[in-house]
Symmetry: C2
Subunit: 95 residues, 2 copies
DNA sequence: TTGTAGACTAGCGTCGACA
DNA sequence: CTGTCGACGCTAGTCTACA
């Protein structure tokens, strides 16, 4: 592991990188969207994911930063992959 | 919001769904892979992501369940999207 | 049905040190 | 350079209750 060959990797903040909070937003957006597609209520999703109702509400409002373990549980309840939870919206409303 | 139209959505545990812990594993796998591609050490990635060295080590060993905010920071440091962190491996060595 | 507040527990995430 | 233990602060996550 000769990482010493690695030159100075920038500083520690790549401006071109993703903006902070996008993950939380994407998660919330996809969460509401997917949940609406199932026609489930927050309570239903909470039951399916085995989490609490208040927690689901907070995640959708982006007032809470969920952990991987729970994000996976949410995706699992929605029948989707964990990766799609952070996927950008399918496409904007064209009409 | 007439979620009442939604009948019994299974029970609460879809066996066909993703197995528990895949997210943690995928994150660890991609983390090591991406980090190796950059030729960075755990310490370097820790510096880039603004996180602690011990935390990076734990995540790679799957002994820790990181939160979205930190996963995004990791992906950010690696210059990739948060979704790719949970993406399955490209493909195994065919040789 | 959903949002929010308050209190509580469990675990995340940091730091320092050693193998 | 990397893995791991001990201690500590902070907040994720739960539960109850009200608007």
């Amino acid at each position: 592991m000769s990482a010493t060959e690695s030159p100075s990797p920038s500083a520690h903040a790549t401006a071109s990188a993703t903006a902070p909070g996008v993950a939380r937003r994407l998660l919330a957006l996809n969460l509401v969207r997917l949940r609406a597609q199932r026609g489930w209520s927050q309570e239903a999703l909470a039951h399916e994911s085995g989490l609490h109702r208040t927690f689901i509400a907070h995640v959708e409002r982006q007032v809470r930063n969920a952990s991987i373990d729970n994000v996976e549980r949410l995706a699992n309840a929605l029948g989707v992959s964990v990766a799609v939870m952070f996927q950008p919206p399918p496409d904007p409303p064209a009409g």
